[in-house]
Assembly symmetry: C2
Homo-oligomer: 478 residues x 2
C-alpha cells in the first residue's frame, strides 16, 4: 500500500486543479521558488526531464541540418527597435541592464526576450551569396519576459527554451522549414511525451510580433484548457529588409533572405504534468522519464535483499533502461508513494519471498496493475511494459482529447459547450479580428489554431453570421 | 597543395602570437563579434567543440552522482552581499538590471557573475537533516563579468561554463569532492583535449573570493604563457554560516554544511587553439573534433566520384566516426586549406584514379603525413590513425611543456628564464603574499599553483631569501 501521509498532501484534481498542479510540482520536487519573484529554480528531478526533452529535439533538429550556436544574452536598445512590429510586441516586457562594471551604460541593454534581432545582426554579416544559404541555426538558452502573474513552468519571468532561426533564398523554402519544424515538435510531443496535439496556423491576432505566419501545436490539459506547446514562425522578408540581410543570387541580383524562427520551452513540462498527472502525483511517459524503473527492496535489512536489488538494477541498466534502487531508510509504503508522486513508470518490488520464488513484482504507475515476473523474463517484460505504458498513455490522452472536442454551429452552442465540457470546439469563422476579440471579451475564448485539414461545419461565422472562410479550433487557454 | 590564398591570411605564430590567435578564431569561424562590446557570438564551428567538451564532462560528473539543475539568471543585490569576501570579489564587475516590465525595480538585480549565493539560498531551504546530504548539483549556463579588455574565448563579458555546487556533512568529504572534480578536469583536458596540465593549489592571493582553498589545472600555451583551465574550490563552512545552510546531524546537533564549487568555461576552446594550432590554423584533437574526417572529392564532376565519396562517408559514419563530404563548388586546393584552417584531424582525398585503384589518400592534419589506404582497410586505418593523432598531439604538447619547465634558485634566474624561454618556472617560496606581489609588480609573474607533489629545489624563498615553505609553479598568464 502506498503511504497516505505523502499522498494526502496533494489536492485532488477535481477539487482544485490549479492547487493540484502546484502540489504536484512541489511534491515531485520539480521546481522551487527563488529570491527573485517569478524566477524559478528547476530542481534536478525537473531538469532531468528537460534534458530528455532537449535530447529528443536536438537529435531531430540536427538530422535536418540544424547546427547549434550561442548568441549574446544582452541586446542594445537600438538593435531591439530596428523592426517596429517586433519591438512593439516585446518592449513592454523586457528587463533592462543600465550599468556594468560600476559604470552607467551609454545605451541600455535588454536581457533577451527572444533573439530574432541578434540572429539578424549576425546573418547580415555572414550571408553574402546564395552559396551561404540556407543558414540553419539554433540555440538552447534562457530568456526573460517580465510577466505579471507567474506559475512554475507555465509562465515564468525566465524560462529555458530553444530558439531556431533560419534564413533561406526563397519564400517557398522558408515556408517548408517552418512547417518541417512544426512537424518535429508534433513528433516529439506525441511520440516522446505521449501528448496528442492539434497542428495549425494561428490567426493574425494570435501570431508572433513581426511574423507573416505563425504555426502552433496545441494540446488539451486534463482540465480541458488548451496549452500552446510550441510555435514555428515564417517571417517572410520583413526582418531581412529591416536588418539588410541580403544575398547575391545566381542571377547576380541582390535579394533579401526569407526567415523563420521556432521555439519550444520548459512549459512542455507543465503540459506533461497536466496531461498525464493524477491525484497521486506525476505520471511520466517512459521515453522521457529520467528514471524508468524504481526498485524498492522489501525488508531490505534481510541478508541478500539489497544485493539482489542492485543486481537487478545492473541487469536492467545493461539492457539500456534507466533504473534506480531506493535504499533509503524509509518504509516501503513511503517509498511506494514517493515513487508515485515522482511519476516513475514502473516500480519493482523485491523482498525475501520474491527472491525465494525467483521473481519480482512490477507495478505500473499509470494503471497500478501488478505483474509478477520471473528473474529470467525481467528484462524482456520490463521493456515490453514500458512500451505498453507509453502507448497506453498516448491513447488515453487521445481519447480524452477526442471526447473533449466538439463542433458548434452557433455562438451559444460554442460557449455552452466550453462551459459544460471544457476542451476544443471546432467552429466556423469569417476571418475578421473583431469576431475573435468579441469572443475573448465575452467569454475568455480564443482561437487556438486553423488546422490545415479543413472541414465545413457550417456556412457562416459562429460569431457574426457572415460567410465563413475557415474552420477554427477554439478554447480557453493557459 | 593547400590553397595559399586562404592560408596567407593567417599571421604566423612567431611573428605575432596574439594576431595569429585572432586570425585563427576568425578564419576557423569559431566566433563573431556582437553588437555589445565584449560579448561574442559563438558560431556553429565553435559551439560544436563546446558541445563535445560538455558531453565529455557531463557524463563524468554524472558518474560521480552529480545532477544538473537550473538556477535563476538574476541575483538581488541583498543576496549577493550576504557573504562579504565574495561580494568584494564580484561587485565591481557585475551588470545591474534596474527595470523590468517598464517599471523601475525596488531592488537592483545583478546578472549572475557566478551562482554561489543562489545555490546557498536554495540549499538553505532543502537541506534539513544529514539524510539530505550530500547535495551534488551542477548547471550549464552563461555568466556575465564586466571585464575591461576582452578577447574571444579567453576573456569575454559573457562566457559559457558549468558551475558545480555541492554541500556535505563533513569537511573531509568537501575536500575530497573538491579534489575529485579537479581530477575530472585534468582527465578531460589531458585525455580528450590532449592538453597536459599541472594540478595544484592556488596561493591565498590567487584563490577565489570566499574560498578556503582553490585548486587549479594550469596549461602552457604555445607562446609559453600559462592558462588557468579550470578551478575547484573548497568553501569550508563560511557560506553555510552566512546563509544558514545547516543540518540536523545523527547526534541531533545542528551543524553547518561544508561546501564546494567547481567550474570550467569556454576558455578551454582558447586553450585548444593555443596549445595545438599552427600557422595553417586550428588543429583539433580527434576525440573533441566535431568533424573527424573531411572527405574531399577530386574532380567531383566526374561520374561516380561524389557517389563514392558519400558511400565512404556512410561507411565511416556507420563505424561511429564523425564525417562530412565537402562537395561545395570550390577547388580541391581551397578545400584542403579550408580543412586545415578548421583543424579537421583527417582529410580524405578521393578521385577517379583512386576509385580505379580501390584506394583513398588520408592526410593527417597534425603532421601532414599522407597515407594511402585501400577501401577494405579504410575504417580500421582511420580509427587507428585518429587514435594515433590523439596520442601524438598529447605527447607533443607534453614534450613542449617539459622543455618549457625549468627550475630556478634565485630571483634573477627565475625572471631570466621566463624572459628567455617563457613557460613554467619551479621555484621555492616563503609563503607570504608580499613576495608574490613583488614578483608581479617587478615582472608580471604570478604563482600558478602549489603542486601536491612537492620537491625541494632550494632552502630559501626565491624572492625574499627567508626559509622556504613550498615549491611553486610560476609563470606569466592569460
Amino acid at each position: 500500500m502506498a503511504d497516505k501521509k505523502l499522498v494526502e498532501q496533494i489536492t485532488s484534481r477535481e477539487e482544485d486543479f490549479a492547487q493540484w498542479y502546484t502540489d504536484v510540482v512541489k511534491k515531485a520536487e520539480l521546481t522551487d521558488y527563488s529570491s527573485v519573484k517569478g524566477f524559478m529554480v528547476i530542481r534536478p528531478a525537473g531538469y532531468a526531464i528537460w534534458e530528455n526533452i532537449m535530447a529528443a529535439l536536438d537529435s531531430r533538429f540536427k538530422a535536418t541540418g540544424v547546427q547549434n550556436c550561442s548568441m549574446p544574452l544582452l541586446i542594445p536598445q537600438s538593435l531591439l527597435e530596428k523592426e517596429s512590429e517586433h519591438v512593439e510586441g516585446f518592449a513592454p516586457e523586457v528587463a533592462w541592464v543600465t550599468s556594468g562594471g560600476s559604470k552607467r551604460l551609454e545605451e541600455r541593454l535588454c536581457v533577451r526576450p527572444t533573439s530574432e534581432v541578434l540572429f539578424c545582426d549576425y546573418y547580415s554579416k555572414v550571408v553574402k551569396s546564395y552559396r551561404d544559404l540556407p543558414q540553419l541555426l539554433n540555440q538552447w538558452c534562457s530568456v526573460v519576459r517580465w510577466e505579471k502573474t507567474t506559475r512554475p513552468f507555465l509562465r515564468t519571468r525566465e524560462f529555458l527554451w530553444q530558439e531556431g532561426h533560419t534564413v533561406h533564398a526563397t519564400a517557398e523554402e522558408a515556408e517548408e522549414r517552418t512547417l518541417l519544424m512544426l512537424d518535429i515538435y508534433a513528433d516529439v510531443l506525441e511520440n516522446e511525451l505521449a501528448i496528442p496535439v492539434v497542428k495549425g496556423r494561428k490567426t493574425d491576432k494570435e501570431k508572433f510580433a513581426g511574423a507573416i505566419a505563425t504555426y502552433t501545436v496545441e494540446a488539451l490539459m486534463h482540465d480541458g484548457q488548451a496549452l500552446q506547446c510550441a510555435t514555428s514562425h515564417n517571417f517572410g522578408d520583413g526582418f531581412a529588409k529591416a536588418f539588410q540581410v541580403q544575398y547575391l543570387s545566381k542571377n547576380n541580383t541582390v535579394e533579401p533572405v526569407h526567415q523563420t524562427s521556432w521555439g519550444i520551452t520548459t512549459r512542455t513540462i507543465g503540459a506533461l504534468i497536466m496531461v498525464h498527472g493524477d491525484d497521486s502525483g506525476l505520471v511520466l511517459p517512459p521515453r522521457i522519464a529520467p528514471v524508468q524503473v524504481n526498485i524498492i527492496p522489501i525488508q531490505q535489512n534481510k541478508e541478500g535483499v539489497l544485493d539482489k536489488a542492485f543486481d537487478l538494477m545492473n541487469t536492467l541498466m545493461d539492457a539500456g533502461l534507466r533504473v534506480k534502487v531506493d535504499d533509503s531508510d524509509k518504509t516501503p509504503g513511503f517509498k511506494f508513494a514517493d515513487s508515485e508522486v515522482r511519476g516513475i513508470p514502473l516500480r519493482l518490488e523485491i523482498g525475501p519471498k520474491d527472491i525465494e520464488a525467483g521473481q519480482v513484482v512490477l507495478v505500473r504507475r499509470d494503471t497500478r496493475e501488478k505483474i509478477v515476473v520471473s528473474f529470467e523474463n525481467l528484462v524482456e517484460e520490463s521493456k515490453k511494459l514500458l512500451e505498453q505504458i507509453q502507448k497506453d498513455m498516448y491513447n488515453r490522452a487521445l481519447t480524452f482529447q477526442k471526447e473533449r472536442t466538439t463542433d458548434a454551429k452557433s455562438l451559444d452552442e460554442l460557449v455552452a459547450s466550453l462551459d459544460k465540457k471544457p476542451g476544443f470546439v471546432r467552429a466556423m469563422w469569417c476571418g475578421c479580428r473583431e469576431c475573435e476579440e468579441k469572443l475573448k471579451e465575452y467569454s475568455g475564448i480564443t482561437s487556438r489554431c486553423i488546422p490545415a485539414k479543413q472541414e465545413k461545419i457550417a456556412d457562416t461565422c459562429v460569431v457574426c453570421g457572415k460567410p465563413a472562410t475557415k474552420m477554427v479550433y477554439w478554447g480557453r487557454a493557459y
